[in-house]
């Protein structure tokens, strides 16, 4: 048994951490997260320049990572710094392009930004409900429909879109120039977009894509749980610091047992979150992937919200302000549960797995 990170991954984490702390200062983060294009293209290129994207896939695909822990390490650091760069699309696209046997060169170098468009207004979390359609009109495939809240959609060069081609759910590659994208910032900062397709030109990548999409969603969910973990750790550190320094009634508020016990409960919850993320990361690409990811996303969804709400409450008014970073961490922690299936959605997956044996 060994719960230490390998040297390679420790280096990966340190590289990310250093870059983000030097290049992605808090004021900078606040500005870019809410100003079009809602991220910083230069910093994106900077992250690519560190070779981070090569950690997304294994050596067989031209990378040097590709394990669950590689993704977890990267996203934990993004979460720690509350970095709004839309790397989620790259993680999911790397899985999808690999499944399609398509080249990954541009993705790994960071030259092309990918967003993955699966969810729709009436089918936010489930593949069965997808209504976007694909037709082969002789001169190639054309897509029609709307994809909603596409993360990184407005700043992507290419969109990987799930659409129904006759009875099957297929995966297509659409150039951003061929699509109608309506970008906006998210409430917790960072870019998203509505994608309107009205006979948009598309290239077929995978004709029967259900299992590849399910797999990509799992990897995306793993990334989000790790991001939440990083964000929880920063939030918790700020809370402890504040409990020790803020004084009321002539003593640090951390001297009140009513707050001490609640702070301790949060520490316990965050340990649980760390463990379930480790368990999920270790199960990726194995037989238990679906179960472990669902467990992680379910638990982390609940824990992240608890940490957010309790951190605000125990700070008092100051954490209600835009100026104080905890408010932004809290928004991210709560809104992560709105991405790629919320705590209830993943609980349903678990119930189904239990009931069908």
């Amino acid at each position: 048994m060994n719960f230490e990170m390998s040297d390679d991954r420790r280096m990966l984490a340190e590289t990310m951490r250093r870059y983000l702390s030097e290049q992605y200062g808090w004021e900078h983060r606040l500005r870019v997260a809410y100003t079009a294009p809602y991220h910083d293209p230069q910093k994106w290129t900077g992250i690519a320049g560190l070779g981070i994207f090569y950690a997304l896939v294994g050596e067989d695909r031209g990378g040097m990572g590709g394990a669950g822990f590689d993704i977890a390490v990267i996203f934990e650091e993004l979460g720690r710094a509350l970095c709004p760069e839309p790397l989620l699309g790259a993680v999911m696209a790397a899985r999808l392009l690999s499944a399609a046997g398509a080249p990954l060169t541009d993705l790994l170098s960071g030259d092309q930004r990918y967003a993955v468009a699966i969810g729709e207004l009436d089918a936010p979390y489930d593949l069965d409900g997808i209504t976007c359609t694909a037709e082969d009109g002789g001169d190639g495939w054309r897509l029609t429909g709307r994809k909603s809240v596409v993360y990184g959609g407005g700043v992507a060069d290419r969109l990987l879109v799930a659409a129904r081609a006759e009875e099957r759910l297929a995966l297509f590659d659409v150039a951003a120039d061929d699509a109608d994208l309506r970008p906006y910032p998210m409430i917790d900062g960072g870019p998203a977009a509505e994608l309107l397709l009205d006979g948009a030109k598309a290239k077929l990548l995978i004709a029967d894509a259900t299992s590849a999409l399910t797999d990509a969603l799992d990897w995306g969910a793993l990334a989000l749980t790790a991001e939440a973990l990083g964000a929880m750790e920063t939030t918790y550190a700020m809370l402890l610091d504040y409990l020790g320094t803020r004084k009321q009634f002539g003593q640090p508020i951390g001297a009140f047992q009513a707050l001490q016990h609640r702070a301790v409960d949060l520490a316990i919850e965050i340990e649980q979150a760390r463990s379930i993320v480790i368990l999920a990361a270790s199960a990726m690409a194995g037989p238990d992937q679906a179960k472990r990811v669902a467990q992680a996303k379910h638990l982390v969804g609940r824990i992240a919200r608890t940490v957010a709400e309790e951190a605000i409450q125990m700070h008092g008014g100051i954490a209600m302000t835009w100026e104080y970073p905890v408010s932004h961490y809290a928004k991210r922690l709560v809104m992560i549960d709105h991405q790629l299936g919320d705590t209830d959605h993943h609980l349903e997956r678990l119930i189904e797995q239990l009931q069908t044996g």
Partner: protein, 395 residues
Amino acid sequence: MDLTYSPAERAFQTDVREFLAENLPPALSRKVNARGELTKDDMERWHAILNARGWLAGPWPKAFGGQGWGPIEQHIFEEECCLAGAPRIVPFGLKMLGPVLMKFGTPEQQATYLPRILDGTDWWCQGYSEPGAGSDLASLKTRAERDGDDYVINGQKTWTTLGQHANRIFCLVRTKADGKPQEGISFVLVDLDTPGIEMRPIRLIEGGHEVNEVFFTDVRVPVTNRVGAENEGWTIAKFLLGHERTNIAGVGFSVQALEQVKQLAGKVMRGGKPLIQNTLFAARLARIEAELDAMKITNLRMLARAAQGGRLGAVPSMLKIKGTEIRQAINDLARRALGPAAAPFPSEDLDGNLPIAPEGHAHHAASYFNNRKISIYGGSNEIQRNILAKGMMQR
């Protein structure tokens, strides 16, 4: 045991409903129900409509321009207003300063200020909290020093709700430096146009401008603007805390918000069905509805006791804790129901051009985050628990 209103109370409820149906501008209720940000004009417009009917200050005695409503009428009125989507009455003049002046003010102060609260000439804000004095309000440091017929005020207030619309602020200030902190505080009325006052906005978590910081540098205020005796301000502060408690549970807000979640859950789809058909979501909803229905009765039990002149003691603290927990849980459900559609930063442009959330539901994430405040302000829920514990353990 009879859980219903008396015939007279029911008749009053009908009057209020009819009045709201006829007089509440639909544009206002749409905005309130959609959790949009109300402008100063919106709030003043509603105040004027209520004032014209004599219902702006229902609980005030008739002699001061009110109706002399008891707690039950007041509750009925507020609940109906919530259900109809009426803007909230801005409480600082009507529910805070008004009762203070009636109890502690001089006849001149009453004659000067009370009519101006009713007709909207004055918009008051509350200057209690300071950066270093939140829960421990008595540690406040803003000083007022006597200089002839004036006080000279120096210091800083913060969290001043809607101060950007106000022309006056009532403040707790320190008029004596030694002795127990509670014994050196006075209550003064300050015109915000006085030289030396600077107000700066504080932006809140969801991006809105609702609170402010107020800086005082050598601000001269006539001593006649003090309410009550010098160094007796803490008595007034405590009176105020104990005074306006009928709506402390916010039951009306919760009922309205829960109705809205139900409607939303009938519209949004999950797994090919309306969300309300989803067992896990329905369970969340059913659980909160049970809590809320119990809360309604708890609230009415307390009102009945208050109406009979009974002492409430620390009971309002219970209502505040449970009431805010329920409201926040409903805000959580509304946000959750939207799924990814809760994600966009709420902006009017986006709503108009390309709706993502169903109409009227675009602000649920923003109002969930904003309403984290309700368990912090007005005495945090931790402080309320301290009050309750103290009351119970000493028995």
